[in-house]
Assembly symmetry: C2
Homo-oligomer: 695 residues x 2
Amino acid sequence: MNVSQQIDTRPAASEQNMADAIRFLAMDAVQKANSGHPGMPMGMADAVTVLFNRFIKIDPSLPDWPDRDRFVLSAGHGSMLLYSIHHLIGFAYMPMVELSAFRQLGSKTAGHPEYGHALGVETTTGPLGQGIATAVGMAIAEQMMAARFGSSLCNHFTYVVAGDGCLQEGISHEAIDLAGHLKLRKLVVLWDDNQISIDGSTELSTSMDQLARFRAAGWDAQAVDGHDPEAVAKALERARRTRKPSLIACRTRIGKGAASMEGSHKTHGAALGDREIAATREKLGWPHPPFFVPPEIKSAWERVAVRGRMAREAWEIRLDASRSKKRYEQTAGRQLDGEVTHLLTKFRAAHRKRATKVATRQASQMALEVINGATALTVGGSADLTGSNLTMTSQTQHISPGNFKGRYLHYGIREHGMAAAMNGIALHGGFIPYGGTFLVFSDYARGAMRLSAVMGLPVIYVLTHDSIGLGEDGPTHQPIEHLAMLRATPNLNVFRPADIIETAECWEIALGEKRTPSVLALSRQALPMLRQTDGDENLSALGAYVLKEARGPRDITLLATGSEVEIAIAAAQRLQAENGIEAAVVSMPCWEKFEAQDAPYQKQVLGDAPRIAIEAAGRLGWDRWMGPDGIFVGMIGFGASAPAGDLYRHFGITADHIVAEALKLSAGGPGRSRSGAPGPIRSRANTSSDHLKEA
Amino acid sequence: MNVSQQIDTRPAASEQNMADAIRFLAMDAVQKANSGHPGMPMGMADAVTVLFNRFIKIDPSLPDWPDRDRFVLSAGHGSMLLYSIHHLIGFAYMPMVELSAFRQLGSKTAGHPEYGHALGVETTTGPLGQGIATAVGMAIAEQMMAARFGSSLCNHFTYVVAGDGCLQEGISHEAIDLAGHLKLRKLVVLWDDNQISIDGSTELSTSMDQLARFRAAGWDAQAVDGHDPEAVAKALERARRTRKPSLIACRTRIGKGAASMEGSHKTHGAALGDREIAATREKLGWPHPPFFVPPEIKSAWERVAVRGRMAREAWEIRLDASRSKKRYEQTAGRQLDGEVTHLLTKFRAAHRKRATKVATRQASQMALEVINGATALTVGGSADLTGSNLTMTSQTQHISPGNFKGRYLHYGIREHGMAAAMNGIALHGGFIPYGGTFLVFSDYARGAMRLSAVMGLPVIYVLTHDSIGLGEDGPTHQPIEHLAMLRATPNLNVFRPADIIETAECWEIALGEKRTPSVLALSRQALPMLRQTDGDENLSALGAYVLKEARGPRDITLLATGSEVEIAIAAAQRLQAENGIEAAVVSMPCWEKFEAQDAPYQKQVLGDAPRIAIEAAGRLGWDRWMGPDGIFVGMIGFGASAPAGDLYRHFGITADHIVAEALKLSAGGPGRSRSGAPGPIRSRANTSSDHLKEA
């Protein structure tokens, strides 16, 4: 089933001509934009031409054909390499006019390749190391699909072009260790070994023997002259045969071909200049004007598309003949069975009846038990905190080297690699990945989490131990700024459910998102069930809602999330019983969803009474909800090491403290007595709401 | 000068007894707390006993003696290993009562070792991989001090105990690559090779050949039986002699000694239980009650302190005899010459006269030129973006393998490793580290940046390309949520200066901080000088100030930071000229400093008029300053790839947009005409201020 063996793909125009076409498109586009990176496309043009011309299997007429080879430009700054090839092989979205609008507003040719912005871009790259780590996820997904549907329906390679930056970044270590361990034999990395980084020679900062390093991680590793097509081809043949992931170190010269600047780090990130480009045209015998490729060279490139289309058509015949066709299409299309929602709704009803009191991390596991039983699309995992994140269920056998039938990944102590791999799994298609670590260690995964949001991938982060409530592990393990950090990130749902009911609701919302990743911030400590009212409506989908309304006009509104909602309820009860102050309690499991509600609903929930916001985290962001006269009860510095209850008391995140603050707020008028009959504060009571009950 | 060779340190009590003392203290403390990690202290007790008993040079009576060996417990969860040893060798701060209060509020024995919380803890660890990467910075600082003052004043080792987690984390790759490259021969890592992580056997997640991996990075690497004291000693001897950094893989059994649970991952993170501990007492022949160590074993341990004290006293004699004594003490004490402040003030005055228009990253370099000329304490660097971050000056020769006379580090494409190394340099003493990358790539460094803040280290992050103003590189390179993320972090100054004057002011403040790290968020694009008024006062130290007051009562207040202050000024001028609306402009270079001002000053700056906040970043956090009726002009999603000017227009961060919003705000009353005579808005004008001028 190797299409490349059936057809003589060697074209009339030489591979040298084909590579030079890339070189000039890259030089000219960067020059026109006066911005960009010509050095890498020029240096890797020869090797990548061989890869595309002789091996790669993609069909420009159907860029999302599931069994295409994946090509990941991890060194994303060399985006003109990708755009040039996409133009040359005939992607409809990439006409020459786009190349000439490189890096301009509205063009498809963004500075770095952006998934979803231009068809055919497999993943967003630019932040170094992300491409190679994402590719590991793609290669995992490929093996998982092959394990489920056989090699006649899933049998493709994941090729990566990585630079020195990608291999210096820490995430590369996590990625190659995991890939080597899992024996991802269809992952092939071409390293642009040009011995140059931005500051100058790589000798300034590294002495790494990369071949030895990759071999230590269980990879096959070869070194070739990256400008020798036959050597590159031979290495690729071996890489495709070996049972391990493969590194091919391509020794290249950055800016290869440039008249006087070849080999210089000055070709890395700036236009070469008209004079240098003219001299390079002279040197390489390329008389053509900018943004013009001679027809015979274009034809040679278009044979790549012909080979890809034939492979895709042959695959479609196999799919049509397969008994697994329907199941395959459901999986590849990531179609979630409506059954999941139905079962989660039943789950909520059952636990509402039982008033189940569990940590929300445990509630999450209970919900996952339902979810994983109802769909085979979910793929779980944890960065070595399985027993703490509670991400494993009875259905999730773990994936091990060479055995991809399971659906749980022991990602190892590799939060960043996990997040990037989940991006790759989601990009590949076929699965919905979720993975766990402690909320505080989202720090380690930030680079890849941001890309989940930039790309709009349905990745779910299960981030447990979400506050000082984790207790004794102390300030290094207690998140303070992390909710703000995640809430500040565009296109990311940050859920912090208060009990088992909200946890199930948040899981349901997260699973329903097609273009937004989700964070579930979950407690270590047990939390009582708080949702007293019946009804199947998913209230968390509103982002915030009145969990407990005042009896009559509100004197005060308490806003809280997660584990602090319980404390707010206790404070409200005491305010009423001991002080005659009527407090409503608003649970806010998802700010992003609440922001999306209309103004009347927001006003109704927040009310007109003074507000106290309670969250065992930093204040940043809360002022929007609590208003200028609001009071924040939460953390102002880092945490401490002690049992959770001691910490809540130590930091004043208690019903006592809330009551005291509420009394201060309500002591606004001189006539106000602490014993609590309605005083001046009442004059600001909520008048907006049909949720009010008579006092 | 090897003290250990001069004295027979072999004690009456055996090293086995000494190690068992650690084991029981760890078991008993974790049991009493019912929380913690006994497995690692028990597994590594033998090897670490050899290290302390035969080699390490510390003096408990002077824990911060500059030439002490550094001992870094990178596997910080094994904190009882460290606390036990500190007790046993006689640190005054670590009496037995502290061990028995392990993980309790207020005790010195926090869940993970915390720098500054208990004397003798060299760095805060717990987040895995941080210790080993921080140790690289310590070893760099040691070599730099030795290059400046000779080996008679600086000659110590940095020892690290790391676990599988530390070596799986990506940051370890950045650290060992840098250490190998720089040939940090006095860095010795003991790897607790127990083949266990939290999820179970390390076979679940890794197949890495660690020895080969470290050798590939230029390290010396040895493997020994971690329970064989002579083998460990021999390996340590070799490690101390070799010209490379050293890894010693200590094959151990987690929970070594435990009656039935030795070797099980169940000993990793939970108390063993009274029954198991009793059985272990039986098995190991340890009849003593909890928290009791027999005098002969305690005496044996205390010989470590005697050796350390003698070494320290010998060193003091050498220091007293040294001609470099004064310079050494100034350096070790990190005493900044007052000259720096004086020169920076002159710098500001000069550029105020010249109205210098430069990017704030360039202003930063110009300020650094002054700073680095006035003090030798600063050590610069960049994560391979030297020419973009502009962190190098004429004084900063770079450090290269074996040559530590310079004061600039090419950290490579290793943001996380750089941040951790800077923590280590700051912890070691002797230098003030600053290092650069793009603001967006603070994502990669988060784990270590958080520890800068947790530990309160004077580390300075030069984060350039701080908004969509970087232009064509597109959304992967354009920070949106990063200012919020950093502002949310406790004990971190986030500076975003608006021009060359504020940039110099912010540098001055950052250099003056002793216990707070700083971020300088700097523009790629040129910014005009905005500070028109004369005077040497450092206005940025107020956090926010009125840069341009209204002529008469304010109709509106514009709040902005960094590159958007220029836009706010333009809008204010147009509002006045075209609409007769009086706008004040407030520059807010540092929220943290503004929060620290008293309420009257805050009120005076913010005023009573409606406010518009302008920042080319996300809104989160701004509501606090702009109030409930304020308007935010900034980013609501990710950026795009285009020239900077196009992006500002595309996203509406323009004077036009601000003017339009201001007109909406000021159109509150029906009588208000757009042509702009004072209307209803005037009724809310600022009445608080002595900064007002007559219209």
